[in-house]
């Protein structure tokens, strides 16, 4: 993939789409034809993807700002509305992007209104909200759009007031005379002349760092008051006049196929308006949610249960050596020679992580109102345009005739990138002829959709007498992550799954190394879960690094500092490692029965180091404190970043200790939180965060802090007991 393909692509409406497309590269592959061997091609494509994951570069292409009012609207009443294409799911993106716009455009914060853009209002955000790329991708674009608008406002003010532009400044939603504040025009007054404006060909000058007053500040979240008053409308809450509730019949096993379906006694049930049977899409629409679910039980459905998969079979499939093999990192000529089974100095490790559910507290939810030639859908979704297009396909309408309103989400975590519920509500509404709300139960949410795939890791390594890693190999088997989202046939054929590679590569300066991924097909759907492969891969790699440090009889922090490269990334990793160690008082004494462990990671160009302090009471590990040092490039909102670090650590701990989806007799065994418990305040440790910054570009923060969690805990446990944790979750439900 060339740097050209990393830039912004112009859509047919002249707006920008997301960055770097596998689809584009796949087309290139077809054009190249069979001259390049498939294995080598996969290898080089995978490496480009790894590079992109770790060091994404975003550069706005010329021409995108021709319509800066896509996002920013100025009213005659001097209010400024920012339409965010990125969706708020708790990560604070609305506030953060709003403050970027307000700062560059010189809008007083109280004049700023931030709203969620719907699909009728550009820009087509096919990628959706996730991947830790909302701020990295939007930050440069919003600043350029805002700076362009500011320049146009200044120009118009100069014309209207008869004062030279360099004697004017934009400040607090107005253009004022630099030396006489009584001479000014508000943006609201100036915007009336906008139809005469021509966007200049040259790119605008952005404010310098010392001119910024909001970027870099912790501005209170604009959505909190409404949320705490109970006024916010989430996807599960939305109501419309004349609405009904829908419930979908779910297959009884993961491999089930419908054999026959008829209404049975469902239509006679109280409140039922209609029963929909369309192939294997079966649902009931009723006056209340309870009535819809009750009537489902009265349908006459027969299923072939299909193969009754057991967990052991899944585990056998997800084993290194099975499936599509791609070498995603390699170096040196002596890997095999240095890592021989008969070498007493060989360090070898095997680790496993399970299937996991997203378990956002708000289950999947949408309300659809389908008319003959149009439709409106209100939904908890991370990907408004993808959902709109899937709905269009399902109901046979033109996508442009559908407006999808993404609402606030009660958690997304990657599951709502392809929820499925929008299509369900739309199909029911189309057949029922009224607006229909579908809100999944917890059981449905735990058993349908896609999961974080299981992983299997085999690592081998060796250190020399000076504490330097001589060779290291990481092999990992897993199932679809990004390819679990709707993808083209070509994408599936090539099998390049950027999600799998997150965190899998070796960050250290090792002369001989190889990282190989294996991707298998599973009978359950898998897909992106916060961090994608990151938590599992860092668990594996950083546990191995810890074991090598132990082999070298070196302190784990010192060992890492010694083996990290002197590259820019290496230096940033060393900085966070040292900062975390200092904050955690690494090396100083701890209370009796406590120990510390450390782990580091790189993800989306953000570096993180975490140190866990653990003890063991009555055979149960307890995490007392997590110290995290994070360098996400430039920080837009310090408190926003800290909140994401805290939250990601808690989710990582939940996955480390509790979370496991198991397959039993062809079914997802968990029916509710009783069988899939989450971390509670009881297990939550104290968290301390050190924020470092580097450079002028913000990188992502939603996922990176998940990376080191499991490894830091495992490494702390090793320091405490000499026992190596190699399987998650630690509190295994099955003993």
């Amino acid at each position: 993939m060339t740097s050209e393909e990393r830039k912004w692509r112009i859509s047919r409406r002249g707006f920008l789409l997301g960055f770097g497309a596998t689809a584009v590269t796949a087309t290139t592959a077809v054009a190249i034809g069979t001259k390049i061997g498939l294995t080598d091609y996969r290898k080089s494509l995978a490496r480009e993807t790894v590079l992109e994951n770790e060091l994404p570069e975003f550069e706005a292409a010329p021409g995108f700002w021709t319509q800066p009012d896509t996002w920013i609207e100025i009213t005659a009443e001097n209010e400024v509305k920012f339409y965010s294409p990125k969706i708020e799911m708790g990560q604070g993106v609305l506030t953060a992007l709003g403050q970027v716009a307000a700062d560059e455009l010189s809008v007083a914060w109280e004049d700023m209104e931030i709203v969620q853009a719907d699909t009728s209002r550009g820009m087509n955000d096919w990628g959706g909200t996730g991947g830790s790329y909302s701020i990295p991708t939007m930050y440069p674009m919003i600043r350029e759009a805002a700076a362009t608008l500011r320049a146009l406002l200044l120009q118009e003010a100069s014309k209207q007031m008869g004062i030279a532009v360099d004697e004017l400044e934009a400040k607090d939603t107005a253009v004022i005379h630099k030396t006489n504040a009584n001479q000014y025009m508000t943006y609201g007054e100036l915007i009336q002349f906008a139809r005469n404006w021509e966007v200049p060909a040259e790119r605008p000058t952005l404010k310098s760092n010392d001119q910024l007053t909001m970027i870099g500040q912790s501005i209170p979240r604009m959505d909190f008051e409404a949320k705490l008053l109970g006024e916010t409308v989430f996807g599960y809450d939305v109501t419309r006049p004349n609405m009904l509730y829908g419930a979908i019949a779910r297959p009884p096993t993961i491999a089930a196929k419908l054999r026959s379906a008829n209404e049975g006694m469902a239509m006679a049930e109280p409140g039922v308006q209609s029963v929909i049977i369309d192939g294997d899409f079966i649902g009931v629409v009723a006056e209340s949610r309870m009535q819809a679910y009750a009537a489902l039980q009265k349908l006459d459905l027969e299923w072939n249960e299909g193969k009754l998969w057991q967990q052991a079979e899944i585990d056998e499939l997800v084993t290194v050596g099975n499936g599509l093999k791609i070498v995603i990192q390699e170096g040196g000529d002596n890997v095999n020679r240095l890592l021989r089974d008969d070498d007493p100095d060989l360090v070898a490790m095997e680790l496993r992580t399970p299937l996991a559910a997203h378990a956002s507290l708000e289950p999947q939810a949408a309300l659809a109102d389908v008319q003959t030639d149009s439709a409106e859908v209100w939904m908890s979704t991370q990907a408004a345009f993808r959902e709109r297009d899937l709905i269009a396909e399902a109901i046979g309408h033109d996508p442009e005739s559908i407006v999808l309103y993404p609402l606030y989400l009660g958690g997304g975590f990657g599951r709502k990138l392809n929820s499925g519920v929008g299509t369900e509500a739309a199909r029911l509404s189309q057949m029922a002829g009224r607006p229909v709300h579908v809100g999944w139960t917890r059981t449905e949410d735990l058993q349908n959709g896609y999961f974080r795939p299981p992983t299997h890791h085999l690592l081998r390594g060796k250190v020399d007498g000076n504490g330097r890693i001589q060779a290291i190999v990481h092999e990992t088997a897993t199932a679809d992550v990004m390819l679990g989202l709707p993808s083209s046939q070509m994408e599936h054929f090539l099998g390049i799954d950027s999600g799998i590679y997150r965190g899998a590569t070796i960050l250290y300066d090792v002369p001989n190394l190889r990282v190989t991924t294996y991707k298998v097909d599973l009978p359950v759907k898998t897909g992106p879960w916060r961090g994608l492969g990151l938590l599992a891969n860092i668990f594996a790699v950083e546990s191995m690094i810890d074991a090598l440090a132990h082999q070298a009889q070196m302190d784990p922090v010192a060992f890492r500092l010694l083996n990290l490269p002197d590259s820019e990334i290496g230096l940033r990793l060393k900085n966070v490692l040292e900062a975390a160690a200092e904050k955690a008082n690494w090396g100083e004494s701890l209370p009796e029965g406590h120990a510390r462990g450390v782990a580091i990671s790189l993800d989306v160009n953000t570096v993180v180091a975490e140190i866990a302090e653990v003890s063991e009471e009555n055979g149960r590990i307890r995490v007392h404190k997590m110290v995290a040092a994070v360098d996400p490039g430039k920080v837009v909102s310090p408190d926003g970043v800290i909140a994401q670090v805290e939250g990601a650590i808690m989710m990582g701990l939940s996955a480390t200790f509790f979370e496991e989806i198991r397959i039993k007799d062809g079914r997802i065994a968990a029916t509710n939180f009783g069988q899939y418990p989450l971390l509670t305040m009881k297990e939550a440790p104290d968290v301390e965060v050190v924020l470092l910054e580097s450079g002028d570009t913000p990188y992502g923060i939603g996922e990176p802090p998940l990376g080191p969690v499991a490894a830091a805990v495992g490494n702390a446990y090793f320091a405490l007991t000499g026992k190596r944790i190699t399987q998650l979750p630690i509190f295994n439900q099955n003993g």
Partner: protein, 161 residues
């Protein structure tokens, strides 16, 4: 049957028999109380029934006949000018920038108010024990705990609710 919801007497039918959560949300339009699991585990559905937190997803309507129910919508008050005066728990949750997605917040605050009504000066351990059955998937536990401690102080210093 009659019940009082946020100070207002409402008349609801218990035919067919329903859970309190469905009545609050679908019939009374009080969407602030949330559905999370339907099994009383996650706590997002909690409201105050005669001042004590109850999980509405497992509370039949018949169980609250004649009782006083307070939902999240009833926590804040309006003063004479009509401005909103936040409950100390809401104020503390804003001061500490507690929420992330916000779905669990109603249940968290209701459970906290229930605790502070019963125990106005809880220790940190007592806060944890009382809040240990309220999930927050976004992981805002550190700030929830901090904010509850702060709210306790505010309420003891005579902060108006």
């Amino acid at each position: 049957m009659k019940l009082t919801v946020n100070g207002q007497i409402v008349e609801v039918s218990n035919d067919p028999p329903r859970l309190l959560l469905a009545v609050l949300r679908e019939e009374l339009g009080l969407m602030g109380t949330k559905y999370g699991c339907g099994a009383g585990i996650c706590g997002t559905c909690a409201v105050l029934v005669d001042g004590v937190a109850a999980r509405t997803c497992v509370t039949p309507l018949s169980a609250v006949e004649g009782k006083e129910i307070q939902t999240v919508e009833g926590l804040a008050q309006r003063n004479e000018e009509g401005t909103i005066v936040l409950h100390p728990i809401q104020q503390a949750f804003i001061d500490h920038q507690v929420p992330q997605c916000g779905w669990c917040m109603s249940g968290q605050m209701i459970t906290a108010v229930s605790l502070l009504t019963e125990n106005p000066n809880p220790t940190e351990d007592e806060i944890v024990e009382a809040m240990a059955r309220n999930y927050c998937r976004c992981g805002a536990y550190v700030r929830i705990k901090r904010a509850i401690g702060d709210a306790a102080q505010m309420m003891n210093e005579g902060g108006t609710s």
